[in-house]
């Protein structure tokens, strides 16, 4: 797995398109929110900014890059080539998505640290970490599922839009308007409970028990994403 991941990292840094979409765009978008944190905290809260930063990095940096990468590796039969070796399917997939996942996590944590420095830091760091990790797992699995529906790297520009834009929209809706109205709907939407977790973790003032209730919903979305990945992922191009 590590050998695949090492070579995948080499490829990421040699491909300008992946570098721009995977590294630059999430940082620019997140950087804008951090720079304008006073405006956006008035609109929602610092927790909302933290949530939108997390989803921007994980949706644009991790999810879209992972779908593009997997579609590309399948299209040029690199996945088939890897399966002609002794490596297991799990280690192949883990090796392929590990670099982009690590890069996205480092980006998200670094930007959130900057947000904490220029504004106020999170009230409950462990809860924030759980929310980030659960969202990461959900987006990796959704990337595998979406890659199954994506025929080429170019096609990924279309197939990734529904999930990435929906997550940003849900995070904005929940982060800005809160969950006092339409609570059930907002929390059951993909990313809704995770957004509320991040908002609570950053802003504080909510009993831990109330926040922990959000975890099962967040984890349920992880399981749904994994089930979709199992069902939809393909190793070879359609004939």
């Amino acid at each position: 797995m590590l050998e695949i991941a090492r070579n995948e990292m080499i490829q990421i840094f040699r491909n300008r398109l992946v570098l721009v979409t995977g590294l630059v765009i999430p940082v620019v978008v997140s950087g804008y929110f951090v720079h304008q944190h006073e405006v956006f905290s008035d609109l929602g809260s610092l927790g909302y900014i933290a949530a939108i930063v997390m989803f921007s990095v994980l949706a644009f940096g991790l999810y879209i890059t992972a779908v593009t990468t997997l579609a590309s590796r399948r299209q040029n039969l690199f996945l088939k080539r890897l399966r002609a070796t002794a490596a297991s399917d799990a280690s192949i997939l883990a090796g392929l998505v590990l670099p982009v996942t690590v890069i996205a996590l480092i980006q998200a944590v670094a930007i959130l640290i900057v947000l904490g420095v220029v504004a106020t830091g999170p009230a409950q760091i462990p809860l924030l970490a759980v929310a980030i990790l659960a969202t990461t797992a959900m987006l990796v699995a959704l990337a595998l599922a979406t890659a199954g529906l994506t025929n080429s790297p170019e096609h990924a520009q279309v197939t990734t839009l529904p999930v990435s834009l929906s997550l940003i929209a849900v995070a904005s809706w929940v982060g800005i308007t809160g969950t006092e109205d339409h609570a059930l709907l907002k929390l059951l939407l993909p990313g809704g409970a995770a957004t509320e977790l991040v908002v609570n973790a950053w802003n504080g003032g909510v009993p831990l028990a109330d926040s922990l209730v959000l975890l099962p919903i967040t984890m349920a979305w992880v399981l749904v994403a994994v089930a979709l990945a199992n069902r939809l992922f393909r190793w070879e191009p359609r004939r």
Binding site: E3, N7, Q11, L79, L82, A86, A87
Partner: protein, 292 residues
Amino acid sequence: MPATPVIEVERLNVTYGDFAAVRDLSFHVQPGEFYALLGTNGAGKTSTLEVIEGHRRAASGAVRIFGESPRDRRAVRPRTGIMLQESGFSPDLTVRESVGLIGALSGRRDDVDRVLGIAGLTRKASTRVSQLSGGEKRRLDFATAVYGGPELVILDEPTTGLDIQSRDALWAAVDSLRDEGSTIVLTTHYLEEAQQRADRIGLMHEGTLHREGTVAELTQSLPSLIRFALPPGAPEPPIVGALNGAFHIETFSLQHDLHRLLGWAHDTGVELRDLQAGPTRLDDVFRAMSRD
């Protein structure tokens, strides 16, 4: 006691929806053997190989590699080198990185530079795959297949796109592997390559194994051929049939009938033009199979 076959295929069936690509196919490949699986387009060779390589599930039947399921990669792959029909390398990696990666994942050990040398890619070691020609990509594919000297090497159309020098180098490397005891399975459209090297040949047609045997066994059922042309006005020789304006004699006794023909030409003073005589070739068998 007979050796355990390296490859055992028993009543294999492969289907795509309602279409049966492979039907009740059975054959064995013995240790150290060079086995060529040949066939017309759509005969089912690729589907068969994909099952043997573990890339595709059989609809029914059994396939075992070294006595194991081909899908048990941990057991089978370290002993098997696979040269796929299509390359499948990442364009942004260099040749050295590609061989190093696939070699490391193969479960075998080798020196990357040695393997690059075998494949004639030493000078391309630092070149990215995206900048390789089609023939160079085939050589890269070959390099990953022979990495670590596997016990079984599967070569799927290995020389397609290779120039004559590269073909010679590839076959020299394969001969070297055979000398070390490796088992070779080949599919190719270049029948002369199979005819020259294979211990046994399986001829597939419409999803089934039409015939199987050594080159001699496959060709002995068809007559040898004597071809020639005659000058205008010359008398017709005995035992001939016209074929596209030329004359031909089909014979199971090549030496005897050639002697008769030459004797007749000598006695009548007729010049035999464009005279060709030879045993049946594999492509003759192939054509006969396609006509069946």
